[in-house]
């Protein structure tokens, strides 16, 4: 094969490979998103939280039971991924894909090779996930708005305790606890040993996105 043809074939294979990885990202597909949200919560999440977010899957008995068999999911008070079930393996892979696309050098290299297919460069799937998480968070009818306020305050200050949030935002403790739970589900915050809360590493990297909420 001539050198030019070989290089063309590599670019074609790379393009198909990258497009497939992008298509299975939780920011792009509802089904891996559902699985990924369970996985980032140590493999189990409250039934009610998922029922509100994914009624198509959880409120239909037939679909719910089918998903259990297809992906290896256990549905009870907590929804959990079976270790070594397909859902578990897929989310393992997704985490590695995230890390790959989060690498700016990778994105630069691949974007330079795939200019035709991605004239604006290949997407940053990790950043997209933060955007999708914030969209999901802000659309939560009861605690969404206050959760965003709390998150902005934490990002601005760096590290805050419950008492600090009460004082700065004038919110009652119960509301703050609910909001922090919600922020934890999306892995947007981390709790430190001293009881204070800070932004997760991924959110810290892309905290500018908060400005749009």
């Amino acid at each position: 094969m001539a050198r030019e043809q070989i290089e063309k074939e590599f670019v074609k294979q790379l393009s198909n490979f990258v497009k497939a990885l992008i298509a299975i990202a939780p920011s792009r597909n509802y089904v891996p998103q559902f699985l990924f949200l369970i996985r980032i919560n140590e493999g189990r999440l409250d039934y009610k939280v998922l029922e509100d977010a994914y009624p198509d899957i959880l409120k239909d008995n037939y679909v719910r039971e089918a998903f259990a068999k297809i992906f290896g999911i256990s549905f009870s008070e907590k929804v959990s991924l079976t270790v070594n079930g397909y859902g578990w393996h897929l989310t393992d892979f997704m985490m590695k894909v995230f890390a790959l696309f989060d690498d700016s050098e990778f994105r630069a290299k691949v974007s330079s090779l795939l200019k035709e297919d991605f004239p604006e460069g290949i997407p940053n799937l990790a950043r997209e996930w933060i955007e999708v998480s914030l969209e999901g968070l802000s659309s939560e009818p009861t605690y969404g708005e206050n959760s965003i306020k709390i998150l902005k305050e934490i990002v601005k200050t760096g590290r805050l305790k419950i008492e600090d949030l009460e004082r700065k935002l004038g919110l009652d403790r119960g509301t703050i606890f609910q909001c922090l739970d919600l922020l934890g589900i999306y892995n947007l915050i981390k709790k430190d040993y001293d009881g204070s809360y800070r932004a997760s590493d991924l959110l810290s990297k892309y905290s500018d996105i908060l400005g749009g909420f």
């Binding site: 294979q13 497009k19 497939a20 089918a66 790959l100 290299k109 090779l113």
Partner: protein, 259 residues
């Protein structure tokens, strides 16, 4: 519900596009380790400067006398994931569930393992000794399982290989090569997993620990799983992907009368 179905279909299509029968990068990663010369000649597209740069710096592939995947790298995770994908969709009951949820005929649900195995068998059948390879595989799939005392586990394959040598007129080197191609390659590490099985016998319940070891052949037809029940004196090798391989063998035999 329609959004869920559309996304599920997109997921299946994308996962299939990642499979080694459809993408050279996945195929290359699946079939490592390879010696550098073979890797170069078999995959010239992935031996260019741009390709090697990408594979080495971002996919965790080491290029030396041998081309290998680095442990815990992206390519290592993809390798494990591809096997999970094979196992997931080469399951008729599961594909049937997927078909029902999506309201589609079952034959429209992809089977990446079948696609891959078909490609492999077509390639093997066209080799100079292709007829013997296919016949060896047919003989092997007729056995379905091999059980042996755990103290003589290293000799489990002898009786079958001797039978194949006699029936197919194979010399020891040929028999060994074919065995590595389609059953078990010692160059490729196996993965073991332990599970507990809960059983009841009348009013008693007890658990037993089962260790399953997934073995690979050169082309990852992955036909056998080792099964050991803790404290048993026997070790078994059980056939995997049986239905799919039998179907493919029928297709190949029908298409190539000389086999």
């Amino acid at each position: 519900m329609d959004i869920m179905k559309d996304h599920f279909i997109n997921l299946l299509n994308s996962l299939t596009n990642l499979s080694p029968s459809r993408n050279l990068i996945s195929q290359y990663i699946l079939l490592l380790p390879k010696d550098a010369a073979t890797a170069y000649h078999s995959y010239p597209e992935l031996s260019t400067e741009n390709a090697k740069n990408l594979l080495q710096n971002f996919f965790g592939i080491k290029f030396d006398g041998y081309v290998v995947r680095n442990k815990d790298s992206f390519s290592d995770t993809l390798y494990k994931y591809l096997h999970a994908l094979f196992n997931w969709l080469d399951d008729e009951e599961r594909r049937s569930e997927i078909a029902k949820v999506l309201d589609l005929p079952i034959n429209s649900i992809p089977n990446p393992y079948e696609e891959w195995a078909r490609k492999v068998l077509e390639k093997l059948s066209k080799m100079p000794e292709g007829g013997k390879i296919i016949k060896f595989l047919k003989m092997f799939t007729e056995k379905r399982s091999f059980q042996i005392h755990k103290d003589t586990i290293y000799r489990v394959w002898e009786p079958f290989i001797n039978e194949a040598k006699e029936k197919l007129k194979l010399n020891p080197v040929e028999a060994d090569e074919i065995f590595k191609l389609i059953v078990l390659s010692s160059n490729i590490p196996a993965e073991s997993r332990s599970e507990f099985e809960f059983l009841s016998a009348g009013i008693y319940t007890y658990t037993r620990e089962i260790e399953r070891t997934f073995y690979h052949s050169e082309y990852h037809l992955d036909l056998i799983v080792g099964v050991y029940i803790r404290n048993s004196i026997y070790y078994s090798y059980v056939l995997r992907h049986e239905k799919t391989i039998r179907k493919l063998l029928e297709d190949i035999t029908r298409d190539r009368e000389e086999i």
